[in-house]
């Protein structure tokens, strides 16, 4: 009875002589020296977390900052060629080309006369959308009733100094407007009066001649959009607002380069931390190494043992660290951009492989150094 069980054990061990012993050694090494193993794992986890957070931030910061840059307003403008009005379906064409990745606002302009004969530019537009497009406009109150006008500060001083309702005439037609709010931008808008598009069209009958577009995309996507719009609207001139596009590209590029330099430095420091901890860990166990060698283990087996241990540590550390790092990146995003950084899972393989490579290097390096030392010397404590 017992002999059959024994023979079964013997045959099982004969079939896989190393695996079970190998695994047992790995497990025991981790359990018996909990303290050292835990500190090595901690270093691994922290390094992987820092690396993950930096890589995640680096990948995501462009999208986050691009959103901030859209506060500068439009980056594409569509105007009728030679001052012609745009076709009636132009705004529809633009909206379908944008497909939700941005904002398009139509503007129509006329030069009207005040009751004492002064010229003033009046613009009809969609005020709700302008509010979203041009967030820098400083407005006392946005108009919401019919025939309410948004009056630029300089225009206001001319048309209604006491903020009383005023009359404007265009080609013999007169309209009576109520100055609901005052607009201040420091640019040409200050000399204009803005009206809701419906009131403007009822009064002047003039169609929009300009569409301002804020497209939220990379420079390539904006270029593609410009090409598409030029084909869709042959009567119009579609051009990028270079001032906005070039400023954005430049600042974004510099920020990303700085962040990349920071990421390299931080990841290198984290790798160094892992390296020094793990080298210490393996070096500390030179006695195990010597005993194994004295018992007749081949160098390949010992190397394999330490390498497997390091790889396991690297893998576990990378996975735990990835989770923590994603959390840190999300927190940074929330604190700084008021929107969490989206976890990028394509960062995981990089962190995973990187962790294992660093762990392997730091395990194999001390083994390589110890290889030439006689086991007896180590066991004697020299």
């Amino acid at each position: 009875m017992s002999s059959t069980r024994n023979s079964a054990l013997v045959s099982r061990r004969a079939a896989k002589p190393h695996t079970s012993m190998f695994l047992r050694m790995l497990m025991r090494a981790a359990v018996l020296r909990r303290g050292r193993a835990a500190s090595a794992l901690l270093a691994m986890v922290v390094a992987a977390a820092v690396a993950t957070a930096m890589l995640n931030l680096y990948v995501d910061v462009q999208a986050k900052l691009r959103k901030e840059f859209r506060n500068y307003g439009a980056n594409i403008v569509v105007v009728g060629k030679d001052g012609q009005p745009l076709p009636a379906d132009a705004i529809g064409e633009v909206d379908s080309a944008l497909a939700g990745h941005g904002l398009a606002v139509p503007f129509a302009y006329v030069v009207a006369r005040t009751s004492d004969g002064q010229s003033v530019v009046v613009s009809g537009t969609n005020l709700d959308q302008v509010r979203k497009l041009n967030s820098w406009w400083s407005v006392t109150a946005w108009p919401n009733a019919s025939l309410d006008a948004l009056v630029g500060t300089r225009a206001g001083a001319v048309v209604s100094p006491q903020r009383k309702p005023f009359d404007l005439s265009f080609q013999g037609r007169t309209t009576h407007l109520n100055p609901a709010g005052t607009l201040h931008t420091g640019a040409s808008e200050d000399s204009r009066i803005y009206l809701p598009m419906k009131d403007f069209e009822n009064w002047t009958g003039v169609q929009p001649s300009t569409i301002e577009i804020a497209s939220s995309g990379s420079p390539e996507e904006v270029d593609a959009l410009i090409q598409k719009l030029s084909r869709a609207l042959p009567v119009a001139e579609v051009r990028p607002i270079r001032q906005i596009m070039e400023g954005e590209a430049r600042v974004l590029g510099k920020t990303r380069a700085t962040l990349a330099a920071a990421a390299v430095l931080i990841v290198a420091t984290a790798a160094l931390c892992v390296l020094s901890t793990l080298i210490g860990w393996v070096f500390d166990r030179r006695r195990d190494f010597a005993i194994m060698k004295a018992l007749g283990a081949s160098e390949r087996l010992i190397g394999g043992f330490f390498a497997a241990e390091a790889a396991a540590l690297g893998a576990v550390g990378a996975v735990l660290g990835f989770g923590i790092g994603v959390g840190v990146a999300a927190w940074i995003g929330r604190v700084n951009f008021h929107a969490p950084v989206v976890p990028r899972f394509n960062v995981l393989p990089v962190v995973f492989v990187g962790s294992i490579v660093v762990a392997l290097v730091s395990a194999v390096l001390p083994i390589f150094l110890l290889r030439r030392v006689q086991p007896a010397m180590i066991l004697r404590g020299e």
Binding site: A43, V121, A155, G186, S191, K254, L265, I266, T269
Partner: protein, 421 residues
């Protein structure tokens, strides 16, 4: 005896001390570089944000209303008031003169191009390209090449003292002219030296030196508006206060802060009969973008400090842990816990100081390299950073050693000497 112990420890364990020292040096280096970059990034990005062009505009105080659609001026050119060109260099005499990156005066005139039947009305814009000016003893160069960096010229920029002109891209296509051709402006022939592309209204205009526009208009020294590009501090609640309501020290603080509003106020003082204002599209958004990037770099710097503190601690802990036998021997010979700990702390202090100094120098070099390769300018290292960094290095090294020293001291010397640690 104590000094000799420390000295011998460094002499005999060169490899271990070197490893710990290298870890401290690298950690301090990375921390220094990151702190230097983070403290300077505001200045650097704010300079890069000047790519967006002028953030302040100065107009005559008694100006009439602009009648302008899509950049085309519809106001009769004789209308309105002007600034005096001779007042412009005074900008370099104001309090925040060093924050003024550049300025460009503008004067638009309606001119006739060509002659006879195919005469055409076109807007001519007079400005500085890169004009040499003098105020007091200082010479400086200013113009659209600084304030409007997105203007691109195919051909050459005209000289400010010549009567050569640039032709807007769309206009040149319409007229069929190219650089080197002559163009008749209001009856006078002028040479086209380049084709200008701006993506704005100037693409349909002629851009000429300011003096030429003044000559055509018949008003020497006249400037319609002045665009100023200035380095400013992001606006906060204090910046929005009205200077008229501020008193004494508060007024001084407001006046001496580089807010867009206070620079505008000073521009108004420097140029008589003027009205200066921030261009909100540029000035307001600059603050948001700047604070986002600064915040990001601050958090990243914290991460860097954390990582380097950890690296230093780990290296120190390993270095001390390896020396348990030594501790056992010292204790067996009768050393007290305090004297053993003192020895280790003294060694750590020495390592931290050496590593701190070398790391600071290395970090400063690294920061300079980053500044040069990314921003094409030096990153200034504040001297006050040196003691701060050194203090951080010592504290982190101590903190990293403390746990390991405590464990090493507590260890029973018998086990340590038998090698059963």
């Amino acid at each position: 005896m104590f000094g000799r112990l420390v000295y011998e420890s460094f002499r005999r364990q060169k490899r271990r001390k070197l490893l710990a020292g290298v870890a401290i040096t690298l950690g301090v280096g990375v921390a220094t570089a990151m702190i230097a970059v983070a403290t300077d990034i505001g200045d650097k990005i704010s300079r890069e944000l000047r790519t967006y062009g002028a953030n302040l505009v100065v107009t005559p105080q008694e100006d009439t209303l602009d009648v302008q659609i899509g950049g085309v001026d519809l106001k009769p050119p004789s209308d309105g008031a002007y600034l005096n060109e001779a007042d412009l260099p005074k900008i370099k005499g104001m309090f925040w003169r060093n924050n003024i990156v550049g300025f460009a005066p503008m004067l638009t005139v309606s001119v006739q191009v060509g002659n006879g039947d195919n005469a055409k009305n076109v807007t001519l814009l007079g400005t500085y390209f890169s004009k040499q000016l003098t105020f007091g003893k200082q010479d400086f160069v200013t113009g659209v090449r600084i304030t409007h960096p997105w203007w691109k010229v195919q051909g050459a920029w005209p000289d400010d003292n010549s009567s050569d002109v640039l032709l807007g891209e769309s206009l040149s296509a319409k007229l069929g002219r190219k650089p080197g051709d002559e163009i008749e402006i209001s009856g006078q022939p002028h040479r086209i030296v380049g084709i200008l592309s701006t993506g704005g209204a100037e693409d349909n205009q002629i851009v000429a030196p300011l003096a030429l526009a003044q000559q055509i208009l018949g008003k020497p020294g006249a400037v319609r508006r002045l665009y100023v590009s200035a380095l400013t501090k992001p606006e906060d609640a204090f910046a929005r206060r009205d200077p008229q309501t501020l008193r004494g020290a508060e007024y001084d603080r407001w006046y001496c802060s580089p807010y867009a509003a206070s620079i505008a106020f000073q521009l108004q003082e420097a140029i008589p009969h003027s009205h200066a204002e921030q261009i909100r599209q540029i000035a307001q958004n600059e603050g948001t973008v700047l604070s986002r990037i600064k915040g990001l770099m601050l958090l990243v710097t914290l991460a860097a400090l954390f990582a380097s503190a950890l690296a230093v601690s780990a290296a120190m802990a390993t270095a001390i842990f390896e020396r348990r036998t030594e501790v056992g021997l010292m204790k067996a010979l009768g050393a007290g816990n305090v004297s053993v700990a003192a020895l280790f702390f003294a060694e750590a202090l020495l390592l931290a100081l050496i590593g701190g100094v070398v790391g600071f120098a290395g970090g400063a070099l690294l920061a300079r390299q980053i500044g040069r390769s990314i921003f094409d300018s030096q990153i200034a290292i504040e001297p006050v950073l040196f003691p701060v960094i050194l203090a951080i290095a010592v504290i982190v090294t101590f903190a990293g050693s403390a746990m390991a020293i405590r464990r090493a001291v507590k260890f029973d010397p018998v086990y340590a000497l038998r090698g059963e640690a």
